[in-house]
């Protein structure tokens, strides 16, 4: 069972096309698919729709393709710390849909699990609810629809050739949800392991949701804000 295993990012991402929608895992720079993002920078593609919580940060992660003007539309929840994105949002050179983070993750989860839409109290009475159906339950709730994509690019700590994945610490975030919501999920791993090395009880995402997997390399694993015990607290 090795038909899902690709040699590298270039091979795994080669058919990503102009106009494609791409989900990209990671919270800030934690758990981002570094190799697949680098592969996107090398592809002659444009007009991408990117669905990612932060769209990278200060020159790193997805900012690399943002500054190449490959992105037409972005879905994200947080712009803080990403001046390249905030600038394009304020001067309207990029279409940005800001989605509350819980609604963002639930819309992606819903798409992956066959739920077309759901009512949530999040965003009621705010700009986010404008133009959306509101219904009264115990509280006023806003109708939100599922969010799917052509591709998901994600990273896991360990994966086997079927695509069973195990994520480390807080690097899981949106990645397993995105894997479920995309037609083609491309996974890069720190360690491509043999079957059985991830005990079945400990599989965080069943390989059913993974179409391609490859052994990644040269990870930066950047820390955005290093805080250590004993650091002076700003009071």
């Amino acid at each position: 069972m090795t038909h899902k295993v690709y040699q590298n990012a270039k091979e795994a991402c080669s058919d990503i096309f102009s106009g494609a929608s791409i989900m990209s895992g990671g919270f800030g720079l934690c758990g981002i698919p570094e190799n697949s993002i680098d592969a996107l920078t090398q592809l002659p593609i444009t007009d991408l729709t990117i669905i990612s919580n932060n769209i990278g940060n200060s020159g790193r992660g997805l900012v690399k393709i943002l500054v190449q003007d490959k992105i037409k539309k972005a879905y994200c929840s947080y712009v803080g710390g990403n001046p390249d994105l905030e600038k394009r949002l304020l001067n309207e050179s990029l279409e940005v849909e800001l989605v509350p983070q819980g609604t963002f993750s639930e819309r992606i989860r819903a798409a992956g699990l066959g739920i077309r839409a759901f009512f949530t109290p999040t965003g009621y009475g705010t700009l986010i609810a404008e133009g959306k159906e509101v219904r009264e339950f115990d509280r006023s709730c806003v109708l939100e629809t599922a969010l799917s994509a052509d591709f998901a690019i994600i990273k896991a700590e360990k994966g086997d050739p079927y695509g069973n994945l195990w994520f480390k610490e807080t690097a899981r975030n949106f990645s397993p949800l995105m894997a479920m919501a995309a037609k083609t999920t491309i996974v890069e791993v720190e360690q491509l392991v043999d079957f059985g090395e991830i005990p079945a009880e400990d599989v965080h995402l069943p390989g059913l949701f993974v179409q391609r997997i490859y052994q990644g390399k040269d990870y930066l694993n950047d820390i955005e804000f290093l805080k250590l015990e004993g650091d002076e607290v700003n009071s």
Binding site: C30, S77, Y78, G80, K227, V233
Partner: protein, 207 residues
Amino acid sequence: MSQTPPPWNKSQMADKVITHIQRGSSVNLGIGLPTLIAERLPESLEVMIHSENGVLGVNGRPTSTTVSPTLINAGKETIRVSSSASFFDSALSFGMIRGGHIDCAVLGGMEVDVEASLANWMIPGKKVTGMGGAMDLVNGPKTVIVMMSHFSKSGESKLVKKCSLPLTGYDVVDLVVTDYGIFRPTGKDFEVVEIADGVSKADLQLP
């Protein structure tokens, strides 16, 4: 009238918030000022700190040998976790929040009004941070506390009759802790729960 410096510093504000956190509860701490609370929570309170990027059981900072790039809080700062901690994906994390399983959320703010609405994610045409998890965090936890400076840089009270900035949530705030006192929005005005020493009610410019 805003004083320089304000009567309560950031650590004192954090300590005031802590007096409103119940023993054994689960608490989400927002980016910015509320982060300070984690540093000052006494262990005896047995609080489980939740961070929406997918961890319950945040417990201080790592050492230079235990630090890990995959172990961070929602402010993207490196953290340590307790032996009772757990990790999960973002949908489950926000399910904990929206589902009412997190007892208390503490957020920063730009404006809070008498109707208990909060604005903290954008200044139209000038600044957009995005709402991140804030719109979910004000809709779910049993208690929502806003921790912010009382006055803006231009000296205006940030406790207002009606928010002028785009809302994060409508009718969601239970308590506001500022560097001048503690306040509860009632729908018509702000009830003064506590006021810092040497401050008169007139100083607060309450609506």
